[in-house]
C-alpha cells in the first residue's frame, strides 16, 4: 500500500514596478541610495499626510495584466492592511484586498517539451515597506535601524493558481513570468536587489485526491535555483512526514540556501487578522476601456510572440527560441546579430553556449557585456572564412567578452590566424611522421587512435592554429601514400 504523492505549488510574486517615483508620493525609487535619503513625510507616515496615487503605477499594472492575459477591472479600490512592524511607517500597508486591478490571467510554460498553462488568480497594486538593519542577529540585536527608502515603492503582487507540480515547474513559471515582465517593460526583475521576490506555497497530496493538503509558505526565495531546490526539498520533507504518520502544520518557512533545508519561522495556527478595510483616503479607481485599449495598442512584443517569430522566420528550434526569449536584452542582441548574420542556429549555439557560460561565470547581464553584436558576427564570419578555427574562436570570444576588443585585433595581436597553407603544414606533417615511425605502424595496423595522435601533434606545434580540415586531408594523403 505504497501511497504516491504529488506536489502542489502556487507562487506569490512581488514585482517592483519600474516608476521614477513612489506609488503615493514624489520620492525617487532608485535602488542603492544612502539610507533615508529618499523619504518624505508621506512615505514616512507622518501625521496628516495623505496618499496621492501615481498614475504610472496603474498604467504598468494594466500593462502587466494584458501581458498575462488577465481581465482588467473597470473598478478597483485600495484597502488598508493593518499590522504593526517597525518598517511599516503607517502601521498599515495600502494594498488591494477584494477588488484587485487584474484577475484571471495565465501564462504558458514548457516542461519536458510539453506546454503547460499556469493560471494567475490575480495581480494587485500595493506599496512596499521599509527595511530593517539589525546589529547582528535579529533575536539578539540591541537595536535595529530603519531605512525607509523602499517605503512606498510600488509593487505588483502576482498570485498564481496552485497549478505547478514540482520545483522545476515552479522555476519554469518564475522564469517565464520574469521574461514577460521584462518584455512588457514593467519591472527590472532583479532578484538579487529584491525588485522581484517570490514566496512559494507548497503542499502534497496522494495522487488522485482532489482536496489540497495542508500547505506551508516558503518566504523570500531570491533565485530561481533557490526556488526549485526549496520546493523540492519542502515537498520531500512533507511526504516523509506524512509517511511517518506526522501531520503537516500550516506554517511559514524560510529557505537556508547553504544547508539546503527549509526551516520553520512561525506557525500560522493563529491566522493573521489584517483587518482590511477600504482606504478612505483614496477614492475607488475607475479604469476606462479607452485607457486599456491605448495601452494594449502600445504593447511590445512578448516572449511567446518572439519565440514564434524566431521559429517561423529563422527556423530556430523551439528549445533555442525559448532560451533566447527569456530576456529582452538577449533577444535584442540576437536580433541585432541576425540582421547581418542570418544563420540563426549558429548564433543561438554561441549565445546559449559561450555567451551564457561567460555571463554566468562573471555574474553579469547581457546588457552589461563589452562584446557587441557586430563583434560576435565578425568573429563568426572569420570562422566561416577559415581564418580561425572554432576552437580558437572560443579563446577569441572570451577575450572579446573581457576586453571588448574586435576579434580581428585579438587574432592579429595574439597571432591566432589559422594556418591553412598546405606547404607550411606539409613540411610539418612530414617531420612528425618521420619522427614517429611506431605510431605510423599503429595507424597502418588499423588503430584509429593513431590518426588522432598526429592531428594533436600538428595542433600542438601550431598552437591550435592549424586549419583542422586541411590537416586532416594532408595527413591522410601522407600516411596513405607512404603505405
Amino acid at each position: 500500500m505504497d501511497v504516491q504523492y504529488e506536489t502542489v505549488v502556487g507562487l506569490e510574486v512581488h514585482a517592483e514596478l519600474k516608476t521614477a517615483s513612489k506609488i503615493f508620493c514624489g520620492c525617487s525609487t532608485a535602488f542603492g541610495a544612502e539610507p533615508n535619503t529618499q523619504v518624505c513625510p508621506v512615505c514616512a507616515g507622518f501625521p496628516g499626510m495623505l496618499p496621492v496615487l501615481n498614475e504610472k503605477v496603474v498604467e504598468l499594472a494594466i500593462r502587466t495584466g494584458l501581458a498575462l492575459n488577465a481581465e482588467i477591472a473597470e473598478h478597483c479600490k485600495f484597502d488598508r492592511k493593518n499590522y504593526f512592524y517597525p518598517d511599516l511607517p503607517k502601521a498599515y500597508q495600502i494594498s488591494q484586498f477584494d477588488a484587485p486591478i487584474c484577475k484571471k490571467g495565465y501564462l504558458d510554460i514548457e516542461i519536458d517539451g510539453e506546454k503547460k498553462r499556469i493560471g494567475i488568480t490575480r495581480a494587485h497594486m500595493e506599496e512596499d515597506a521599509g527595511k530593517l538593519i539589525h546589529q547582528g542577529d535579529i533575536t539578539t540585536t540591541p537595536f535595529s535601524l530603519v531605512d525607509l527608502n523602499r517605503s512606498g515603492v510600488p509593487l505588483l503582487e502576482i498570485v498564481s493558481e496552485p497549478d505547478m507540480r514540482s520545483g522545476a515547474e515552479a522555476r519554469a513559471y518564475m522564469e517565464k513570468l520574469r521574461a514577460i515582465l521584462l518584455f512588457a517593460g514593467v519591472s527590472d526583475c532583479k532578484m538579487q536587489e529584491g525588485s522581484l521576490r517570490c514566496d512559494a506555497n507548497v503542499s502534497v497530496r496522494p495522487i488522485g485526491q482532489k482536496e489540497l493538503g495542508v500547505r506551508t509558505e516558503i518566504k523570500n526565495l531570491n533565485s530561481f535555483r533557490a526556488l526549485e531546490r526549496a520546493v523540492d526539498y519542502e515537498a520531500k520533507r512533507q511526504i516523509e512526514a506524512l509517511e511517518d504518520g506526522e501531520e503537516i502544520i500550516q506554517e511559514t518557512m524560510t529557505w537556508d540556501e547553504e544547508s539546503g533545508v527549509t526551516r520553520s519561522m512561525r506557525s500560522k495556527e493563529e491566522a493573521d487578522d489584517y483587518r482590511y478595510f477600504p482606504d478612505p483616503d483614496l477614492p475607488p479607481l475607475f479604469i476606462s476601456q479607452e485607457w486599456i485599449d491605448r495601452i494594449r495598442a502600445s504593447m511590445p512584443e512578448l516572449p511567446d510572440q518572439a519565440q514564434q517569430r524566431l521559429m517561423d522566420e529563422y527556423g530556430l528550434p523551439e528549445y533555442d527560441a525559448s532560451i533566447i526569449t527569456l530576456s529582452p536584452d538577449t533577444l535584442a542582441f540576437f536580433d541585432e546579430c541576425l540582421q547581418v548574420y542570418p544563420d540563426a542556429k549558429t548564433l543561438s549555439n554561441w549565445m546559449m553556449g559561450e555567451m551564457a557560460r561567460l555571463l554566468n561565470q562573471n555574474n553579469i547581464e547581457i546588457q552589461e557585456v563589452r562584446v557587441r553584436p557586430e563583434g560576435l558576427v565578425s568573429m563568426l564570419k572569420m570562422i566561416d572564412e577559415g581564418k580561425i578555427s572554432g576552437k580558437i574562436a572560443k579563446k577569441v570570444f572570451e577575450e572579446m567578452f573581457m576586453t571588448g576588443k574586435d576579434p580581428e585585433q585579438i587574432v592579429e595581436e595574439k597571432g591566432l590566424i589559422q594556418i591553412s597553407d598546405p606547404e607550411v603544414l606539409q613540411a610539418m606533417i612530414a617531420e612528425i611522421i618521420a619522427s614517429n615511425p611506431k605510431v605510423v605502424d599503429d595507424y597502418r595496423s588499423g588503430k584509429d587512435k593513431a590518426f588522432g595522435f598526429f592531428v594533436g601533434q600538428v595542433m600542438k606545434k601550431t598552437r591550435g592554429k592549424a586549419n583542422p580540415a586541411i590537416v586532416n586531408q594532408l595527413l591522410k594523403e601522407h600516411l596513405d601514400r607512404e603505405g
Partner: protein
Amino acid sequence: MELYELTVHELQKLLARKESSAQEITRSIFSRIHATDEKIASFVTLTEEKAYEKASQIDKMGNYQNLAGIPYALKDLFCTRDIRTTCCSRMLEDFVPPYDSYAGRRLEEAGGILVGKLNMDEFAMGSSTEHSAFFTTRNPWDLQRVPGGSSGGSAAAVAAEQVPFSLGTDTGGSIRQPAAFCGVVGLKPTYGRVSRWGVVSYSSSLDQVGTLTRDVMDAAIILNHISGYDPMDSTSVNTAVPDYTQFLDGEVRGMKIAFPREYFQAGVDEDVRAAVKNALQLYESLGAELEEVSLPCSEYALPTYYLIAPAEASANLARFDGVRYGLRDMEAENVVEMFSQSRARGFGDEVKRRLLLGTYALSSGYYEEYYLKALKVRQLIKQDFERIFADYDLIICPTTTRTAFKIDEEIDDPLTLYMNDILTVPVNMAGLPGMSIPCGFADGLPIGMQIIGRAFDEASMLKAAFAFEQQTEFHRAKPHLEVK
C-alpha cells in the same frame, strides 16, 4: 471699542483705511489672550514671537488685502511647520511637523497672523475638551461648563474674543456643537470642499476642516480663503468655489426650508426646541416656505458613526508606535513591548476606548456584521437627505439637544457624552455642509441652530444664516468675563 472685539470684516475695513496696523491688532489680541486665558484655557501653544514678526512684515509692506494683518488660531491638529502640533495628546506632546496644513498655508499666504494653537479633545475624540491630555477649556459663558468639543478651544477662543476667527475640524459635530455651546458661528463645509492635507486624521471619510467666527459674514470670508481643490488630497473635490460673501443679501424669500420632525423630538430640551421653532417662524415671516419632513434613518446615524469613525481611527492612529516620532517607551525590552507601552502611555482613555472599538469592528468575523453594515446604513442616511434635497433648499434643526453641560457632569458616562452628537453626526455621514448659528439663550447659555445644505451648496446655507443674523441680535451678545 477694543481692537480684539472686532470681527474679521471690521478689522479688514480698519486696515484698508490704515486706521490701525497689524502690529496694533496683534498687540491687542495678545493682551486679551493674556488677560483671559488663565480662565478660559483655550490655548495650548502661543506663537507670540512669530506673530509679531509677521505683523511687522505686513505693516512694512502696507498692503492690507485679503487677510493681511488678521490674527487667527488653529485647533492643535493642524500641522504647523516648526510649531509643535500635539493633538492635545501625550503621544505628540513634543511633535514639531516639518510642514503646514493646506488650510493653514492658505491663511498664511493670505496674510493671516497665527497667534497660537487651540485646545481640543485628544485626537478630536470627544465633545467637551475634557479629553485633552493637558487641561479642560472653559465655556466663556459659564466657567463651570464645557465649551463643547472636540474643537472646544477653537470655539471658546472666538467667543472670549481672544481671536476674531479660528479653524476647527468636524467629524461628527466637532465644530457645530462647540459653536452652539459657545454662541458663535461654526461652519462645516461639504466633505471634499477643504483639503485635509496636513490635518491629523481621526476619521478620514468624515473629517472636514471648517471655521469658527463671530458672525456669518466672517464665515463666508474665511471659507473663501480655505476652499478649493487640492491635488494633494485625493478626496478633495474639483468644483468651482464661488465668492460666498456675494450671497449675503438678507433675502430668503421663496427658499424652501425643511425641518425634520425627528430632530425636534424626545431628548431635545424644551428651551432649545422653542428657540429653533421661533427661528423657523422668523424665516417664514421673511418669505421662506417651511415644511415638516422626516429623516427616518437619522436615528441610526450615531451607532453607525461609532463603528465607522473608530474603525478608521484604529488605522489612522496606528502610526503612533514610538518608532519615528512621538512618545516612545524607553524601558521596553523588545519591539512589541515598545509598541504597546508607548501606546499605553501616549493615549488617553477615550482614545483607547475608540481604538479598541474600531479594532474590534474591523476584526475578522465581525467586519461584515459591523463595519460593512455601517457603510450600508451610511448610504441609507445619505439617501434620506438626498430625497429631502430634491424638494428643499435647506434643512433647519437644533445643533444640540441641550446647552453646555457642566465640567465632569458627563465624562464618566461615555454613552451620554456620545448623545451630544446625535443631531450633528447625520450630516457628516452624508458628507453635507452644515453650520451652527446662535439663535437664543436658555439660563444665560447660548443655543445653536443648525442649517444643513446640499452638497457643495454652502452658499444657500450662508445666505439663510445671514438673513437670520440681520434680523436678530444673538450673535452680538457677549459673555461677561471679569478680566484682570
